[in-house]
Symmetry: C2
Subunit: 489 residues, 2 copies
């Protein structure tokens, strides 16, 4: 175990002061140029030295013919060059004194026997010079806190709390857009590629120590160091949750993973056992992986699995109730006191059971303040799950029919929506119980966006909400098991 | 069985020439007023007669004190009034000669024993006058082809091909927004409420005959006439698919459904048997219900379950492969001929297995024309599943770096995207094989929106795409079973 994060070989890789970049040019469609531009677009503040055999300038920056010409020894080399010159350039980096590298180039172990030999060559050069490197066949890293992004797409949104280690580069770089829409962001994300020198366990170790990381997300096609994985995870779980998507459990997934990164996969049963022993929660899709990071990073610990559902529509209430039942979450009966406190708010067509179905409210604000307050005070319930219709259309229509112009209606409607969202978000702070929303509308609509910005996870459909809540409950259970076990030892 | 759709009691309910509307007022927050405004907002062209005990005008339309004062006998009455006056008004409608009604008001069987008596009263009045009615405790109907929408929210988008019968009004009216984002629409949608007089089987009969309906979607909390359900479904399946979401299979779902519409649910096992016997495909969420309608309504019959996956990113390829394996779809090996035709397009870092992983293409257009063409010509594959990254950011960035202004870059980028989307959509027409896209980006982004508008289903994540494809394959299998069985009889 590391004493401090600075001891990790990954520390200089995601906190470099200077970078030598191989493979950027003035050809805008080249992959290296795109990665180079991502780095500059985010405003990296250290020195960047493009190395190019012919150009004087690369994207308006002074270029160097060889790494030997650089005015200093950079902390990090990034290589996006043709397969056959990677080892030669890595050797030169070693000669120059560079000790950390990201090798983006592919054409190694994932290509079969010839590639295996080429990869072995890289490993030997690294040993010779004491180089630690990520890849080959990876997309690089993002550490938005350091304005660092070596991947192919622009980093969007703010730095966040999700630390990621991924055996697919796509699930780092192609997720920038996706998670920014959830008001989420990466703390640090690693694409590990073929893991010739640094693997996913090393990344877990770094992220476990990383102060910006609240939850760790893994994308796995095959674990190379099983025992170390389990030990590392168990040492992290007491402090932060780990969520993993594993795709090697089916025959088709196994084959695809192998031709992607040469990973050796195992059966679902084997991996389920490994994950359970490790305290790692398994996700079954990329969407679910980030759903789970969301509830785990944003919500307080639930005391138990008892959910109360608030809805104004019977169908969405029933689907949420059905989801809870299927996922093993409980719907407790409401106490006499809660029923008494709720009854002034519920018309006779509504239902004060669980789900609490308000049907139609005369004062729309009740749904966002008094009603959820009563439900959060219910001792029989640990979690509040609320259905949101996104009322903007009805609000705006009513305002228009009242004689306001379309613009006025939109402005007034926005004010009302803002008050409603604020009210819910405050409840999260006051009551310290998990609150989660679900809707059948897009999560990019104003109302949902506003709720999400205020810190409330809102999911499309109750099924996703309930699975993410189940993961939250599961994490604290597994954590307790591991803590109990550790204290026994 | 009906000889023609006009014989259905639902025909006048969704094709009325004139409507008496009870419960609209000049109070904009009242539910009846909202429903009344939905009807007028869509531009219903028949006569609308608001009936109100006091007002001279309701929402600027002449109001009538009593149904007896109306200048004609309307085809349909819509009642959104307090529970205790429903039976009195229904009686008056009967006296006036009205023979069809939608009873929105709640407070009947779903409320327990007292409500059961009130509902019985409605049934008896209906028998006395030969009235057929939907509800009580329903949200009404939408038939956008007739500009008819009696529900609480505005109908959005165009009329479509999904015929729906739902035991939740929310899953009619609250889905207008959702499905319009998928470029889908309802042909006719029924909220059946407590089914006191007309039930879901009657709706299936209507939708089976409805020429605008290509696929039938059901939301079920409990089936009241089991035998009739099976017989009706089996008579429809040879002509159009039926998809059903059932939420009564879990204990929590069963209880919620009962307090919603008083439906009596059965175990998952029982319903799975009923659905299989009926040829009905079961969905497990509302999202999935419409996903399945999408593939079934937009795509040609697949010859079998063999899928070829096209990607330029290994991780998304592996997740799709894993999904196919889990859902029982096959990933065939590509023929020698296909591999030969593909090789000029795939760099040495790519993979010409299945998934076909292009990695990086020099000519971006290849991904949208030549490569999928080769894959559609592959005799070993029945279905093409393509990963889309939504390339607008990279395209626009390259154009900006080339010296175009931001506006010019966006304009040129939009042209390129349009050409790419058109190219894929044409392949669907030429090859008559199902093509489905998946992405991790929002489906409301320009690129995806464009693809969807051109008729290609695009899903968020491979899991949803694969489950919707599986349903498509399943439908044709069940259809064959039922046809074989029918011809044997």
């Amino acid at each position: 175990m590391l004493n401090s994060i600075q001891e990790s070989p990954l520390y200089p890789i995601v906190n470099p002061k200077s970078i030598a970049f191989f493979g950027a040019s003035n050809n805008l469609s080249a992959m290296g140029t795109n990665q180079f531009n991502s780095l500059r677009d985010l405003g990296f503040e250290g020195a960047i030295y493009p190395v190019h055999p012919k150009e004087e300038h690369v994207q308006n920056l002074k270029a160097y013919r060889s790494v030997h010409d650089l005015p200093e020894v950079p902390d990090l080399a990034v290589l996006v060059v043709p397969t056959q010159i990677v080892s030669e350039l890595l050797e030169e980096c070693g000669q120059k004194g560079i000790r950390h590298a990201i090798i983006v180039s592919g054409g190694f172990k994932e290509m079969g026997s010839e590639g295996v030999n080429r990869e072995q060559e890289l490993i030997e050069i690294a040993i010779k010079y004491g180089i630690r490197f990520l890849g080959p066949n990876c997309i690089g890293v993002a550490n938005p806190y350091q304005k660092l992004n070596t991947t192919i797409l622009r980093y969007l949104g703010d730095p966040g709390f999700i630390g990621m280690a991924s055996q697919s580069g796509s699930f780092v770089t192609q997720m920038f857009n996706y998670i920014s829409h959830l008001s989420l962001g990466f703390s640090t994300a690693f694409s590990v590629g073929n893991e010739a020198n640094i693997d996913i366990v090393d990344c877990m170790e770094y992220l476990g120590k990383c102060p910006n990381t609240k939850v760790i997300a893994l994308y796995i096609e095959g674990i190379r160091r099983g025992r170390e994985f389990v030990e590392m995870a168990r040492s992290i779980i007491p402090y932060k949750p780990i969520v993993a998507l594993y795709v090697g459990g089916s025959e088709t997934g196994r084959r695809a993973g192998f031709s992607h990164t040469g990973a050796l996969a195992g059966s679902d049963q084997l991996y389920d056992g490994v994950f359970h022993q490790s305290g790692v929660i398994r996700a079954y899709s990329i969407g679910e992986l980030f759903d789970m990071c969301w509830t785990m990073g944003c919500l307080p610990e639930p005391k138990g699995p008892r959910v109360v559902i608030q809805t104004h529509s019977g169908g969405p209430g029933a689907t949420a109730a059905d989801s809870c039942g299927r996922e093993g979450l409980e719907l407790p009966a409401l106490s006499h006191n809660t029923i008494k406190k709720l009854s002034p708010f519920i018309p006779n067509t509504g239902s004060i059971r669980n789900p609490v179905d308000i049907t139609f409210t005369k004062n729309p604000m009740d749904y966002f303040s008094d009603i959820p307050t009563v439900l959060l005070e219910e001792d029989n319930a640990d979690i509040l799950l609320i259905y949101f219709l996104v009322p903007s259309q009805m609000v705006n229509r009513a305002l228009e029919h009242m004689g306001l112009s379309k613009d006025q209606a939109i402005e007034q409607g926005a004010k009302l929506i803002n008050a409603q969202c604020k009210s819910i978000a405050q409840l999260l702070e006051i009551h310290k119980k998990p609150i989660v929303g679900y809707t059948y509308r897009g999560i990019q609509e104003d109302f949902t966006k506003n709720l999400i910005k205020q810190g409330l996870p809102v999911f499309q459909g109750p099924e996703r909400a309930v699975r993410a809540l189940k993961a939250l409950v599961q994490y604290y259970r597994l954590r307790e098991e591991i803590l109990a076990n550790n204290s026994r030892v």
